[in-house]
């Protein structure tokens, strides 16, 4: 076997990864079966709405995995991952916009409705190419990746870490939010991009497409998880942990720490972009609110609640918090921010290792030697 490929397959030798993939596959199969095979009206029937919602949760889970990769293993608390998520979302949104073609309200053959409304006479150059799926899907990864590369290069080169980095990542997403709110940017301003019709020729409103998107998101989550797992179980992953806990020491061992940080940060941003791209067709809209600092910091809460530096904890946290959000905002919207705020406090003070930490506590006896990442707190 080619040794350079082996590191990607390594996670399949781990029990935790197999369990994770098994549970994910089972959940996907269950939802699909209950949606397709059970007649509507039956108590076990899973509606298209629920399928859609589950797909949304899974895209959030992928985003949380991306954040856990940098926070849990690299010790970089990014308060700006929402920006990468949103950029991926916008890239996808631009593709979906161009798929509308001349069926918009104004019927313009090329320009999206909002541009006609703003009296633009031609498509801005950065919208070129987004009518082609392959180009748009490539941009979903490349745009967030490029931003992370430039931003990370500047930040890590000058050794901005810890709280400083957190604050400037927050400023980054805040600045982007302000920019995307402007109509002149050409991304629909306040309203963002919406009224999508179809993706790759499939009608976005049909339940089959929704199921397909849900499954695609599940597969993306599985692949993203395996990729992250492969990274963290490699020697590179151990360099990350070393950097997290003793950056200076790692430098003195001869590792160019900033390059490792940049590499992992960029991979993480691309995963976040992918999550955003899968999110947009399922919720049908992308607007600048995804750039809001609140959203980015919420992602961090999912990871903290689920349990940092475990990856599967991030998935659990994302699904738990978002399910709670769906329930709360429906039943008593005022209480949600109280609950969210309370969660932040409770998790950090009383549950520093999150839900996964609780699980691990139970399983500690049975597992041995897999304590690599359960030692020290990953604080900066």
């Amino acid at each position: 076997m080619d040794s350079s490929r082996l590191w990607l397959l390594r996670p399949f030798g781990e029990r935790s990864t197999l369990i994770f993939l098994g549970v994910l596959l089972a959940a996907m199969t269950l939802v699909t079966l209950l949606h397709v095979a059970v007649p509507p009206g039956h108590p076990l029937y899973v509606s298209a709405y629920t399928v859609n919602l589950s797909g949304k949760y899974l895209s959030y889970a992928l985003l949380a995995v991306a954040v856990d990769l940098v926070w849990g293993y690299l010790g970089i608390l990014s308060l700006g991952h929402g920006a990468f998520f949103a950029l991926g979302g916008y890239a996808m949104g631009m593709y979906l916009m161009r798929q509308i073609g001349d069926r918009g309200v104004y019927g313009h053959p090329e320009l999206p409705d909002f541009m006609v409304f703003l009296n633009w006479d031609s498509l801005p150059w950065y919208w070129y190419g987004f009518d082609m799926a392959w180009f748009a899907f490539l941009m979903v990864l490349l745009v967030p990746g490029a931003l992370a590369l430039v931003f990370g290069f500047l930040a890590f080169r000058s050794r901005v870490t810890g709280v400083y980095l957190s604050i400037i990542t927050q400023a980054l997403t805040f600045a982007l939010m302000l920019a995307f709110f402007r109509n002149e940017m050409g991304f629909g301003g306040n309203n963002g991009l919406t009224d999508f019709r179809e993706i790759l020729g499939f009608n976005l409103r049909s339940s089959e497409t929704r199921l397909g998107l849900f499954l695609a998101t599940g597969v993306a989550l599985a692949l993203g998880y395996v990729l992250c797992r492969a990274i963290v179980t490699s020697k590179l992953g151990r360099v990350c942990v070393a950097t997290r806990d003793a950056e200076a020491r790692t430098r003195f061992l001869g590792y160019r720490v900033e390059r490792f940080q940049l590499f992992v940060f960029t991979v993480s941003a691309m995963l976040a972009g992918l999550a955003g791209a899968l999110y947009v067709p399922q919720v049908g809209i992308i607007n600048p609110s995804e750039f809001s600092p609140l959203f980015s910091i919420e992602i961090v809460l999912w990871v903290a609640l689920g349990g940092r530096a475990t990856l599967y904890g991030a998935v659990i946290g994302a699904i738990l918090v978002n399910y709670a959000k769906t329930v709360f905002t429906g039943a008593m919207p005022d209480a949600w921010l109280f609950a969210l705020g309370g969660l932040f406090v409770l998790v950090t003070v009383f549950l520093p290792k999150g839900v996964a930490g609780l699980l691990a506590l139970r399983l500690r006896r049975r597992r041995d030697g897999d304590g690599s990442f359960s030692g020290k707190e990953a604080s900066a």
Binding site: L77, F151, L154, A155, R157, S158, R159, V160, G162, V163, Y164, S166, I167, I168, Q170, A171, L172, F174, A175, L178, A179, F181, R182, P293, I297, V300, L301, A304, D334, L337, F338, L340, G341, G342, L343, F344, V345, V347, T348, V349, P352, E377, S379, A380
Partner: protein, 567 residues
């Protein structure tokens, strides 16, 4: 008395209904002949009108004649009313000014019994009135019994000019200033002569300067080159209009001189605009400094990341609002009381946060960041559900509203001036506390070497609490000041938290001077960028600038050096 044939009252009346602003620009000569009339009238009367005693003497004028004058107003035709106003101006009647003013305000009305009355207060159903002739109070009258003498825009202009001329002889310097202001660009040939005498007699320098300029504009129109000397350096827009006209005029020598004068004025305007930008920048900067200085203590000195800092600012602002609710009608007193109250409320909230959460997260800055962010969400939502999700109105006391006019192009708003001063005072006091008091010494000791400080008998926990309370209290003070500049709502704090962190990081963590310089300079940079980049882009540019700046100098403008900073 001569009536310029083209611009008699009939013409003024014929213009009825045209836009007032437009009229103002095109009706200089009309205003000026009115002035001539009034001036000659007043000169004839000598000084008899300027003292109340003299006015008393003139009082037993012919009431029948006065009645005739007023009767002439109560007609339907506006041109006729214009003539009637002229007649009143000519009448030498000492009550003329009051009538004209009442007419202008719509308070000159005719009662059912035919008497003319002046309405004193036209709110409510019944209005208190007084007799227009005798000035005696007539008690209340129902609005139904009264018939208003209506006027139109052209008449309104006519009235204003007439009153301005009359005011030029008022004893009150404020009235004279206002009326001299109105004369800029309104002078014509008939008026120029008498005006020279008025200028000589005028004791107030500002009134005199204005009148000289008003006269010079006329002289310039007559092609007099020397007039430009009197206009040089004036920043008043009407002077610039006159110079512009001269610059495009037929006489090349005058045009050149006018252009030169305009250039000079343009230069001065630029300076003034720069000064204004600087002022706004410093004002914004002072807000940033206020918002950030508390953070500079909790984050910079103690190393505690308090994301709820913005909400402590919000608490200070709401305290101001609450004080004003408690003391209705006393917004000034309430504001002053809010300063200690806001400090106290925010300091107590800060202590609660420190004791309740932060102390358990010592040495885990990222967790502290998250937990305090949670607290900020809770505080915001508390205000939303407990008070209101909408903005509250905080009243600006009278002594803080208004502005100081430095010159014609530059006026500085008072409330911003107060906030700027307040920020500097707060900064100075904080510096004193950190440098000169026992607390400051202990804080510095604990932050530099906790264990050592402890072993020397400093109660580190107590110092933590005190420092955090101090930083939080200052946030409360920032809130009190902000309530005078922005809306007080649940999102108030959120809007400042990122900016505050930027200021602290930009200035160099742990350095109060750095925070001051960074805050003020970021404010100025923002205001300098705004005109050509727009408000949002300016903000983005500043954020990007700071992000890039941190790359170059990760420790800010004024870094702490040495071993202690390495940790």
């Amino acid at each position: 008395m001569r009536y310029p044939p083209m611009l008699g009252p009939a013409t003024a009346g014929a213009r009825a209904g045209t836009d007032a602003a437009e009229d103002e620009r095109t009706s200089q000569s009309r205003g000026s002949w009115l002035l001539v009339l009034a001036l000659s009238l007043l000169l004839m009367l000598g000084l008899s009108m300027t003292t109340p005693a003299a006015a008393q003497d003139a009082a037993p004028a012919d009431d029948v004649a006065a009645m005739t004058l007023l009767e002439a107003l109560d007609v339907d035709s506006f041109p006729a009313k214009g003539r009637a106003i002229e007649a009143i101006v000519h009448s030498d009647d000492p009550r003329a000014r009051d009538w004209l003013q009442a007419l202008l305000d719509g308070r000159l009305q005719r009662a059912g019994d035919g008497r003319f009355v002046v309405v004193l207060d036209n709110t409510g159903r019944d209005w208190p009135v007084q007799d227009a002739l005798s000035g005696e109070p007539l008690g209340q009258m129902s609005r139904r019994e009264l018939d208003r003498i209506g006027i139109n825009n052209a008449l309104r202009n006519q009235l204003r000019s007439a009153i301005a001329v009359v005011d030029l002889y008022a004893a009150d310097v404020g009235l004279r200033r206002a009326s001299a202001e109105r004369l800029l660009g309104e002078v014509d040939g008939d008026l120029a002569g008498p005006l020279v005498e008025v200028i000589e007699e005028e004791p107030d320098a500002r009134v005199r300067e204005r009148l000289v300029q008003a006269l010079a504009i006329y002289r310039l129109e007559q092609g007099e080159l020397e007039a430009i000397d009197d206009l040089q350096g004036s920043l008043h827009p009407r002077v610039r209009v006159a110079l512009n006209r001269a610059a495009n005029g037929d006489d090349p020598i005058v045009a050149d001189a006018a252009r030169e004068a305009l250039n000079g004025i343009e230069q001065m305007l630029k300076l003034n605009r720069a000064a204004e930008t600087l002022y706004f920048g410093l004002s914004l900067g002072s807000v940033l400094v206020l918002a950030a200085i508390g953070l500079a203590i909790t984050f910079g000195v103690m190393g505690v990341i308090n994301m709820a800092h913005g909400e402590l600012i919000m608490l200070g602002a709401y305290t101001t609002w609450a004080m004003q609710q408690l003391l209705p009608g006393q917004p000034g007193v309430a504001l002053i009381l809010a300063i200690p109250a806001g400090f106290l409320v925010a300091a107590l909230a800060g202590i609660a946060i420190e004791r309740g959460v932060i102390q358990f997260l010592k040495g885990r800055p990222l967790e502290t960041l998250l937990a305090t962010f949670g607290i900020s969400l809770i505080l915001q939502q508390l205000v939303r559900t407990g008070i209101s999700p909408l903005n509250r109105t905080v009243i600006t006391p009278e002594w803080m509203s208004g502005s100081i006019a430095v010159n014609d192009a530059l006026s500085l708003t008072l409330n911003r001036m107060y906030v700027l001063g307040f920020a500097l005072v707060v900064f100075a006091v904080l510096m004193l506390i950190m440098r000169r008091t026992r607390l400051g010494l202990e804080v510095r000791a604990v932050t530099q070497n906790r264990a050592m400080a402890r072993s020397m008998g400093i109660r580190a926990t107590r110092v933590d609490i005190m420092t955090f309370a101090l930083g939080s209290g200052v946030a409360g003070l920032a809130g009190v000041a902000l309530s005078q500049l922005t809306n007080v709502g649940p999102n108030l704090g959120q809007n400042y938290i990122i900016d505050s962190f930027m200021v602290v990081v930009f200035g160099g963590v742990g350095n109060l001077w750095g925070t001051l310089v960074a805050g003020l300079s970021l404010g100025v940079i923002n205001q300098v960028l705004e005109p050509w980049a727009g408000a949002v882009m300016a903000k983005i540019i500043v954020l990007v600038f700071i992000i890039l700046f941190i790359q170059k100098r990760p420790r800010g403008l004024f870094p702490q050096k040495g071993r202690a900073a390495e940790g």
